[in-house]
């Protein structure tokens, strides 16, 4: 005698599930499509969420696929805005670029490692396995533990491009995923060398994690030097458009360069551009 009540209950549940599936399908009034760099996409994804909550009825669709895809899609008008994680080249002057943040990569060591600076060539020799002992670069007599990033990571890409190396030429002892894992690995190993986002390293060092950023070719690795452009291992994160931005596109780019998103930029260890 309970069964009819129970089946009514199950039917109600099913109907609810059905509705829950339908609701997100309701079309939004305005839509913005962004494609491109996988470095920028997580950041812009956060921007998009905040932008949507501030503007009713707007949907911002962020897709990855690499900087070149962002460039192509913008040129072919498939995307409203492209995301490109490098400086624009001379033959790309048909596109309008807006830098939203800077990304710097610094070499980190354990705080008890006496080495304070490395040259470009020394870093190449350490990573390619030609130098295997810290003594060769003015440190203690100890084996170097080389920490590299996993394939596909943007920091690895920037590192390889700057030092002119191929990933297969690197002889790593430890391979890590994100910046935090890198910082903890170095903090736990006095003889390790690694590279992470400068913002992440400064943040951790500020919380007494036993690591230090070292100078590269005499350039001190700091967020300040990334911001003023004097640190060599850095790059701009750009939003690009095919024509002068208007309407919703313009609103989103203005939003992305405003104070309103600085906390999001810093949360992902990038460096905001505008200083005000």
């Amino acid at each position: 005698m309970f069964s009819s009540k129970r089946s009514a209950f199950w039917i109600a549940i099913l109907v609810l599930i059905g509705f829950a599936c339908l609701v997100p399908g309701v079309a939004a009034a305005q839509k913005l499509v962004l494609t491109g760099s996988s470095t920028i996409a997580p950041l812009v994804g956060e921007f998009a969420r905040r932008f949507e909550s501030l503007n009713q009825g707007v949907r911002v669709d962020v897709q990855t696929g690499g900087s070149s895809r962002g460039m192509n899609d913008t040129r072919n008008k498939i995307a409203n805005i492209g995301m490109v994680s490098r400086a624009m080249k001379a033959n790309e002057s048909d596109l309008h670029a807006f830098t939203i943040a800077l990304d710097g990569v610094g070499i980190i060591l354990h705080i008890n490692n006496p080495v304070t600076s490395l040259s470009k060539q020394q870093v190449i020799d350490i990573y390619s396995g030609k130098i295997t002992n810290w003594q060769a670069v003015g440190g203690k007599n100890a084996r170097i533990t080389v920490v590299n990033k996993a394939e596909g990571r943007s920091t690895l890409e920037l590192f390889l491009a700057y030092f002119g190396m191929k990933n297969s030429a690197i002889k790593p002892h430890i391979i890590i995923g994100d910046n935090q894992q890198g910082i903890k690995t170095i903090a736990g190993n006095v003889n390790a060398i690694g590279y992470v986002s400068i913002g992440a390293a400064e943040h951790a060092a500020g919380y007494r994690v036993p690591i230090k950023l070292i100078a590269l070719d005499g350039h001190e690795a700091s967020v300040a030097n990334v911001r003023n452009g004097s640190f060599p291992l850095s790059r701009p994160l750009n939003l690009i458009t095919a024509s002068i931005p208007q309407g919703l596109t313009k609103d989103f780019i203005t939003f992305s360069r405003s104070q309103q998103v600085h906390d999001l930029i810093e949360a992902q260890y990038f460096v905001p551009v505008s200083d005000d």
Binding site: F2, T145, G152, I174, G177, N189
Partner: protein
């Protein structure tokens, strides 16, 4: 009427879980299909290395890494787990047994990322003092052992308790010693349950990702000693998936397929094992 309704609810539940399982398999095949079409199957075993961005896709070192870590952990955890279960059931005084059992249950409840974190900041530096770089196959084996030990202990414990009392009474009445009872009667009677627990634990060890990723160093190579860093198949997917595109993404799905194949092989083995036992 209630019975019929229940039967339908259960039926729908069973069909749904089976469908989801098949859907996942289908999805894995679908996502790895473009990569499988471009890259001949043998290249996953004959390429010089794993550098997907430079079109080298050798999965073998990661397969060996996965197997070494899991087998190593099982070799440690099986004797320890069964010994713990025997201790709880037959040797410990009741109070201690209860305390010990709670402790093991607590161990089972610790999230894997906590194990990984502990391994990264405590275990790896310790091994590093012994033999650099610390992040190694050994660290992976030790962490996995900790993680699968409670599974083996608790299933063995349950299996031993499920053996009918008459077995034990009969054996004791025959004048067997305590160890004689355990070895000759209880362990054989509980064998199916214990083996099931071991298979479950092996599945967990093979699929464990976060904890292993944090302590094994993730260098793609065949380990020649316990102190060499390794990368497991599961860790490979977690490490590279976030930024992978195109073919790179595809081959990560292929390594997912391989992982699934491994687990399927394992459960197949378990099935034949228990069949043999019953026959």
């Amino acid at each position: 009427m209630t019975d019929r309704l229940l039967r339908w609810v259960l039926r729908i539940g069973a069909i749904t879980s089976a469908l989801i399982m098949l859907l996942i398999l289908f999805f894995l095949l679908l996502e790895s299909w473009p990569a499988l079409q471009q890259i001949t199957l043998t290249r996953f075993f004959t390429d010089p290395s794993w550098h997907p961005l430079e079109a080298a896709y050798n999965l073998l070192p990661m397969l060996s890494g996965t197997l070494y870590a899991s087998i190593g952990a099982l070799l440690l955890a099986i004797p320890l787990g069964i010994a713990s279960a025997l201790f709880i059931v037959y040797y410990a005084p009741p109070h201690l047994a209860l305390l010990y059992q709670r402790l093991i249950e607590l161990l089972a409840g610790i999230p894997s990322v906590v194990f990984g974190f502990w391994g990264l900041i405590t275990l790896v530096p310790l091994i590093n003092q012994l033999h650099p770089p610390g992040a190694s196959l050994l660290a992976g084996i030790l962490i996995l052992t900790l993680m699968i030990l409670p599974t083996i202990t608790l299933t063995a414990h349950a299996a031993l308790l499920a053996v009918p009392d008459e077995f034990q009474r009969g054996a004791v009445a025959l004048g067997l010693s305590r160890w004689g009872v355990i070895r000759g009667v209880m362990l054989p009677a509980a064998r199916t349950g214990i083996v099931a627990g071991i298979i479950l634990a092996a599945g967990r060890a093979i699929g464990e990702t976060m904890a292993v990723l944090m302590v094994t160093g993730n260098v793609v190579q065949h380990a020649t000693s316990l102190y060499d860093p390794i990368r497991t198949l599961a860790a490979n997917i977690a490490l590279e998936m976030a930024y992978a595109m195109g073919d790179h993404r595809g081959v990560l799905f292929v390594s997912g397929l391989l992982l699934m194949l491994l687990v399927m092989l394992l459960s197949g083995m378990a099935a034949t094992l228990s069949n043999k036992h019953h026959a």
